[in-house]
């Protein structure tokens, strides 16, 4: 039974990005990356010490306390942050929710202070202000971390890390740094303006001069570890990795006091939904700890609807057949992709063009699958979706391909691309690497799509066809591959609808046997369409035969009522039609209407409407409920006599 609760999409983004960052920084061994989301509700002495360590109050002159900055930042009209104001208005110093994200078996925040190619630098670089987060950051490390600040009531995040390697001998883990990103604000007395960036680090004037901010603190003795402990970001072990503290956890735009128990459920759902490939391979372990000390490991029960996908994916190296053999069976096919050649102006050793394929696994649903979808109560985890992933073992997105199932079996599918196509432990082929790079570069900051169009970053790196190749993995080429597996063989003639019924607008019929079922015969200047207006379905179209050497021709218009499967259940009678072109005859036949045109006319324009579909029905809402207003489709077929016929 689905619950009323819908998973907050912002929360989902948060979980995705945090896990993606950790997953990217996994150490090259067989152990899983472990991520623990730990909620702590601070009160009493713990909270007092915490606020003191954070310098929330005190230090009045010069104003270095955080409260002072936050109170002024909310006055900034250009960068209004209502969440910040809500916090200031409601915080009474008695309770604070802190989320700490611990990752283990990861590299930690390696890199020098000013090396922005490394995880540490990516984190501290200037991404809050003028620098736009455009597609050029796709696939790179760290930028996803901006999402962290959005989930802090005071936009403040603390990092404590044990990096895998350090540059100099003085640098002994842990490494501690904090950052606030606040709207810019003024000091009213001192005539001074503060930028967006506030830092918690090592107060060393020469370094501050060099970097424009304080560097991170390293532990000489135990002082930094103790500070980290007070700030709730102490590491669970001495192993490498990072603990990230989100101060005053909130969901942007929502209630100030989210319940950790509810959050735990939603975090686990999001983790499983997007990372089941990594989890199923034993590469990722996600848990959530609530303030009562309960720790739950994210598993399939948190999002039961992933099970059919997991079962499908588990057959990647097992299944050979491209035919489905009944409910629960899995078939494997491929989708073609051509990776364009890399641009030599940008890359030192550019790859050539690769013509290759990605793998598509398709599972025919069985009754239990659907039950699991119902339990998940998540639009993405439902029938006829294609989960897409590459080597990162994260689901980029779930694409709805219900239209393909209209004429075949219900299914779920997994599109496995790039390095994900090679078995665990094997070296990927050059083709797989090329696809991996191509797709990675196409991802926007959120890593939740493969975007070919308007993607300058991609354009910079490749020469050749980009947009079409990226679109192929979502659009027609993917659909064709799916259809070949899930749809009945059209030749078999067992009740599969004629092509004209499915895509009536694409073409029409002629009297010429040879061209029956061939390509389009009509050239539409305005493709015929139908829309609902004030109780009637209206329609309009403008066009004529492609072949100018035509005889008399006709166009028949029917408005199909569609049911849940988008198949035509009956038709809605056409009440009136008005040819806007002269010399056109009108014949009403049943619910349809035919426009007869002689050979001298090459193009006609028509408009019309259906009978009222809501006659005698109380209100519009009821008209929907009793199936009077439904989806509808305009079926236009053309009959054209050729010269030979006459």
């Amino acid at each position: 039974m689905p619950t009323e609760k819908a998973l907050d999409s912002e929360l989902e983004t948060f979980v995705r990005e945090v896990l993606q960052n950790a997953n990217d920084q996994g150490l090259p061994n067989d152990d899983p990356v472990k991520v623990t989301f730990e909620f702590n509700r601070l009160t009493g002495d713990d909270l007092d010490e915490y606020l003191e360590a954070l310098q929330w109050t005190g230090q009045a002159d010069p104003p270095a306390n955080l409260e002072w900055h936050v109170e002024r930042a909310i006055e900034n009209e250009q960068a209004r942050d209502p969440g910040l104001r809500r916090f200031v208005d409601s915080f009474e110093g008695d309770e604070l929710l802190v989320l700490t994200v611990h990752d283990e078996n990861t590299t930690g925040l390696v890199g020098e202070e000013d090396d922005s190619s490394q995880p540490y630098g990516a984190l501290v670089k200037d991404f809050g202000g003028s620098e736009k987060l455009d597609s050029s950051s796709g696939g790179s490390h760290g930028v996803g971390k901006t999402v962290l600040w959005a989930f802090s009531s005071i936009s403040t995040v603390i990092f404590n890390s044990g990096p895998r390697e350090t540059i100099s001998a003085d640098e002994e883990p842990p490494r501690l740094i904090g950052r606030s990103i606040l709207p810019a604000h003024d000091h009213e007395d001192a005539n001074r303006t503060y930028t967006n960036h506030g830092w918690f680090g090592y107060a060393d004037d020469s370094e501050i001069d060099r970097l424009g901010r304080p560097p991170s603190l390293w532990d000489g003795g135990n002082a930094v570890s103790e500070l980290a402990d007070t700030l709730q970001v102490d590491r669970p072990s001495n192993e490498t990795g990072t603990s990230i503290g989100v101060v005053g956890f909130r969901i942007p735009g929502e209630d100030m006091h989210p319940e950790p128990e509810d959050l735990s459920e939603q975090f686990r759902h999001a983790a499983v939904k997007h990372f089941w490939p990594a989890i199923s391979r034993g590469d990722l372990d996600v848990r959530v700890r609530t303030p009562d000390g309960d720790e739950e490991v994210a598993n399939w029960n948190d999002a039961p609807g992933v099970r059919p996908f997991v079962e499908c994916y588990s057959q990647l190296f097992e299944v050979e057949t491209d035919e489905l053999e009944g409910p629960g069976s899995v078939a494997k096919t491929t989708v073609d992709i051509t990776v364009p050649e890399e641009n030599e102006g940008v890359l030192d050793a550019p790859d050539p063009e690769y013509e290759t394929t990605v793998d598509l696994l398709i599972r025919q649903l069985n009754p239990t699958d659907t039950e699991e979808f119902d339990e998940s109560d998540d639009r993405d985890l439902s029938r006829n979706r294609v989960a897409r992933l590459r080597g990162a073992q994260m689901i980029v997105d779930y694409v709805d391909k219900s239209s393909v199932a209209d004429r075949g079996d219900d299914f779920v599918a997994v599109l496995v691309c790039g390095e994900a196509q090679s078995p665990n432990g094997d070296t990927p082929t050059p083709e797989q690497r090329a696809v991996e790079k191509f797709l990675k570069r196409s991802e926007p900051t959120q890593h939740d799509d493969w975007q070919g169009s308007k993607n300058d970053y991609l354009k910079k790196h490749y020469r050749g066809t980009i947009v079409k190749e990226i679109a192929a993995l979502e659009g027609e080429r993917l659909e064709r591959a799916l259809a070949e597996v899930v749809q009945e063989d059209v030749e078999s003639g067992d009740g599969v609808p004629d092509m004209d019924d499915v895509a009536p607008i694409m073409g029409g019929r002629t009297n010429d046997d040879e061209s029956k079922g061939g390509g389009p015969v009509m050239d539409w200047e305005e493709e015929p369409g139908t829309w609902f207006d004030d109780g009637n379905w209206m329609f309009y179209g403008k066009g004529g035969p492609i072949d100018e050497d035509h005889g008399p021709w006709s166009v028949t218009i029917t408005i199909d009522r569609l049911d849940v499967d988008e198949s035509s259940s009956d038709s809605i009678p056409v009440q009136s039609v008005k040819p806007l072109s002269p010399g056109v005859g009108i014949v009403q036949n049943g619910d349809s209407v035919t426009l007869d045109v002689d050979e001298s006319i090459h193009e006609i324009e028509f408009e019309g409407s259906s009978e009222k579909v809501v006659d005698g029905i109380g209100d519009v809402r009821e008209a929907f409920e009793i199936g009077a207003i439904t989806e509808a489709r305009l079926d236009v077929s053309a009959e054209i006599e050729t010269e030979d016929d006459s």
């Binding site: 039974m1 689905p2 009754p367 119902d374 439902s382 079996d409 029905i617 199936g627 009077a628």
Partner: protein, 238 residues
Amino acid sequence: MTTIHVLADSGQDLVKSHDSFPAEEDSEPPADELENHLRTLEVDEATIDYDRLDEAIEASMTVFDLGRRRQRTAMDSNLAPIVHQCIDVPPRVAAVPGMWHYLTLLRYPDFITSRWSQDDDLQEKFLGTQKDLYSNHLARLWWGAHLTYDEEEDHYLATHRLFNKQRLVNYVLDSSFRRYRPAAIAFAEELWDESGKNITSIAKRFNNSLSTTQLESRSKDQIRDQLGKIRNYVENTN
């Protein structure tokens, strides 16, 4: 731990290519050959009470007059809850077609033959079609009961009602929303005493309405309410 017998696909093929069974009258499944195509599943938390099921099926075949359509329907309504109770397996297992093939072909072939002897598509009642598990007779009884069983109140009233009307059960189990339990129960509760003709009209309108509304966001009561409105409309316009 319970051992579940499952007929492999090869066994299914054997039946499909068989010369006389089930096409010829009084033919029987080739039991000896099929035995060679059995696999087993070990399932935790599953029990199958064959004694009770045997008894219930035998009693049904004696009590109901299978020559009459109404009586066959009544038998389904009577047996569905018992089948669901006796075959106590998790849905994942009940979704394995081979389990039902074993039961229909090797355990209860006489029952299936008697129940469906008037029907052209007897093979489908033994096997289920490629696309549709629900056409296997026992699977149909089990899933129909599973979908309409009232978990909170622990009763099968809606199951009885669903199976008591052939048109209703066919519509619900063959529709694309069949796995949505609240809809299945709503249909059984709201339309159980409706005429077959009206059920068809109402169901068609309901299907139409789903082109614009998301079923899974609706509760059983909301769906009942909607069905009530459609019924009124259909009755008034007839």
